[in-house]
Subunit: 197 residues, 2 copies
């Protein structure tokens, strides 16, 4: 191909991002090389800066620049902990303002075939924290894949015999969705979980 | 917001790319921070490397790592020159193999309101080259916006009185498109340009 090697490499790097196909990767690469040089240097530096500074909170694994994230810092007295799969999963909670407790990021769900076991996900650390810190409720806010389900079940089982209340988010029809297009599993869950007036 | 500043900055940088909205930018930023560190450092470096190495060819302004691009180097004897708006516009020509001549990248189209005049687009340099190097044909392969049309007209006018043949790409129905969904202008052009059996 007539593209210079460093441009080809850049296209390959963009292609490795989720949801970015070959055509989009090429468009992005050409675009950033057509912008003023300073702007592109700044983009490169912002990646490096973020990767140097952002790390998982040592208590809950939410992305932070400090040792302890702002949520862990501000809500030391919280009695509720919400377990999510990845750091960005806490955003809808924070945006809605519905939750004032702590979080715990697993960093994935159990997947024995990929070598992801309870230790990789810091599950022993979670259980220890929960037992030691006297939380009143643990909310499991994982996805609905079979792997997520079995991760939730394992955590629930490991806390059997303790007094902590375990809950999970309600499944049902999301706001604004046309009933006609709701999938079968969602309908099943919404029906099973129907609420009395 | 609870996102650390360097992560917020990274999201803003991704948002500045074409076709990348806020949600996608956030997804990409979280993704690259969740990947192995080396991979993200390599991504940052590939941007910097490309921006350091890639520059416009000194003869035709196609992106290259050398002083002169591979096309200008390989096709020194070519008698045809194809004028395009941006470097990536030469890819479909090269992929189809239909063209064996030289290119000239304008770097945009005339846009007086944005301060883009003939000099910014190297039009004087193009005219001088064309007159001096004895090309037989100049193909205008610009877009179909009013600005592109007037850019093509200007170049055509500046070459009036010379013996060089000036042509433009045919407009018409693209391959594989359903006639029902062809827009009016394309239909108009395809009709006007209809070809006898």
């Amino acid at each position: 191909m007539i593209e210079p090697p460093s441009l080809e490499e850049l296209i390959a790097e963009f292609s490795s991002l989720p949801g970015i196909g070959n055509k989009t990767a090429r468009r992005l690469a050409y675009h950033i090389l057509s912008r003023p040089r300073e702007q592109t240097v700044r983009f490169s530096e912002s990646i490096l800066k973020a990767v140097e500074r952002v790390k998982p909170c040592s208590r809950c694994f939410v992305f932070t620049e400090g040792d302890i994230c702002s949520v862990c810092n501000m809500r030391k007295e919280a009695k509720t902990i919400c377990v999510v799969e990845k750091s960005s999963d806490i955003l809808p909670f924070e945006k809605s303002g519905v939750f004032q407790g702590l979080y715990f990021v697993l960093g994935g769900v159990l997947s024995p075939l990929d070598g992801v076991g309870p230790e990789t996900l810091h599950i022993p650390f979670l259980i220890e924290r929960v037992k030691k810190e006297g939380f009143q409720e643990l909310i499991l806010a994982l996805g609905s894949s079979p792997e997520a389900e079995s991760t939730a079940l394992l955590i629930d089982r490991l806390l059997e015999g303790t007094s902590i209340k375990r809950s999970r988010l309600a499944r049902g029809i999301p706001m604004g969705s046309d009933l006609e297009f709701v999938d079968e599993i969602t309908m099943l869950r919404a029906f099973e979980g129907r609420v009395l007036f």
